[in-house]
Symmetry: C2
């Protein structure tokens, strides 16, 4: 990557947020744009909830739940309890401070602001210096056809704890959705594109499904690096492995890489998967083995540095 | 009042809620309808807030702040703090559990329910057996012209701590607002009408301003009892005395009674004001002196009993 070059990172939830945080530690704000999945946005209690945007925002603001789940550290839950008293469904856990994010987002959206504008406003107010942009300002909804019927991403993932068997995943609205302006600009100006270690189906898939997005990534002349969400045949976090198996893919870093054919030059795998390098190479990508488990903030920054060095190669 | 007769109580905020609670302690649910001012409803953070409806509802549910202010006992304030971080104005104090009320109300209103329906739903879910109804399902907004400009009720009362001098009070939308259905039914069926000790200008005034309301009260053939919000030349609570003085009225129970000319048969004053009885009589009302300060729940029930006995006279 050329000195001062810009990095565009595509991220979903917790795993993506970890690498996004690492990148934000080693790159100044003007050199990083983090594009986030909005396919699992949903409406709860009449409020617009953007789980992945918030996970990335809270993580970069240093406010996220340190156990690695959703939400804000030390949040309280009186509001949700009260909503339950009023007969509202409360299976989607929303803390009081987290609810404030959704209240403010919903208010600004109703006033006519785009999701990009709202996201930028909220993140700046929380002291986030790097740019966080939704993949699109238009609604895209990840929907799963399962053996127990059709359900939204949050119904599947949170309410049903990812227990139903996934038969098919659709990204409703993606064909009509336009790439968000800041995302389009970042695609044009990036010297390096990073696909963070998020679920290829549920987190990166919706981003790639936005109209014209995959074509832009295919046509990008800059280095494109993806990080495997699978280590040693298991997902680092979440239901990625289960979904891959159900949708007929191999539960391995090679299976994950196969989702990125044509849009990835270097696929980063963990050292424990180094022997699977030839399978990656067979997909037309250069395998690169390193430690990709990010437990500490130093792990995150270290992986970010490794990836940026790959951009130089 | 005939046995089993129905009581319609008109109430504003804290003072009205006290007597409403007293009435609910001595009357079964089918014999009491509490009609509440919505002139100080407002929109905060995109949410519909109904301060007086909530004060009455929380009070009857046994959930209100025992110090006699707004809101729910033991509420937390993380959400409001977070809204402040996002740059929202936070001078209107909203607890986390209280915010849930406004979130749920706003959601149900947006789904097409009337404010009457929403109010009934929320109150029932909190275990309130007696009927609480808004004065109207249509928007009425109490607006004050002051020496520091025009302001909404909450701007005047909360943000500006009732410090500007009131020049004029208007009830915007009142001419177009229809009496809420349950209120209209209660007016038809009531054997006794009680005007609770609330601010005549800011709490009872908006109710009386709803199209046709004053005429219905004037024409009512049942006993109408009002309780003075002024004791010994001072308001029991809030800015009533200050506003009365600014608007040219006498700051006394007689001044308060003058606001109810033609719609009140018996005006209840405190024993300390017994000497002012002739002034009340001069307005065409029968004065009745008793202890009207309600500190304990027993005080509230006792005053309610005295009022119901007046209905028999």
């Amino acid at each position: 990557m050329k000195p001062g070059g810009k990095v565009l990172a595509l991220a979903g939830g917790v795993g993506g947020a970890k690498l996004a945080l690492g990148l934000s530690r080693v790159l100044p704000p003007e050199q990083l744009v983090i594009c986030v999945n909005t396919g699992d946005d949903d409406c709860f209690h009449g409020l617009h909830v953007s789980p992945d945007l918030d996970t990335v925002m809270y993580t970069l603001a240093g406010l996220s739940e340190p156990t690695g789940g959703w939400g804000l550290a030390g949040d309280t839950f009186g509001g949700l309890e009260m909503l339950g008293l009023y007969g509202a469904e409360t299976w989607f856990n929303l803390g009081d401070r987290d609810l404030a994010t959704h209240i403010r987002r919903t208010q600004l959206l109703r006033q006519g602001a785009t999701l990009s504008e709202v996201t930028d406003h909220l993140a700046r107010r929380l002291g986030v210096a790097h740019s966080i942009v939704p993949m699109s300002d238009d609604p895209v909804r990840t929907v799963l056809d399962t053996d127990q019927g059709r359900m939204s991403m949050q119904q599947y993932f949170v309410q049903r704890r990812a227990e139903p068997a996934a038969l098919r995943i659709r990204y409703e609205g993606a064909q009509e959705a336009r790439v968000a302006p800041a995302m389009a600009e970042a695609l044009d100006k990036a010297s390096l594109i990073v696909l963070c270690p998020s679920n290829p189906y549920l987190s990166i898939g919706p981003i790639l499904a936005v109209s014209g997005m995959r074509e832009r990534l295919e046509g990008a002349s800059v280095h494109r690096v993806a990080v495997s969400p699978i280590v040693g045949g298991a997902a680092v976090k979440g239901p990625t492995a289960k979904i891959m198996a159900e949708l007929g893919g191999k539960v391995s870093c090679v299976g994950a890489a196969s989702q990125y054919r044509g849009i990835c030059d270097t696929f980063v795998i963990d050292e424990v998967d180094a022997h699977l390098g030839p399978g990656i190479a067979g997909l037309g990508m250069k395998p690169a083995a390193t430690s990709i488990i990010m437990n500490t903030d130093e792990d995150k920054a270290a992986l970010a540095r490794v990836i940026l060095e790959m951009g130089d190669g």
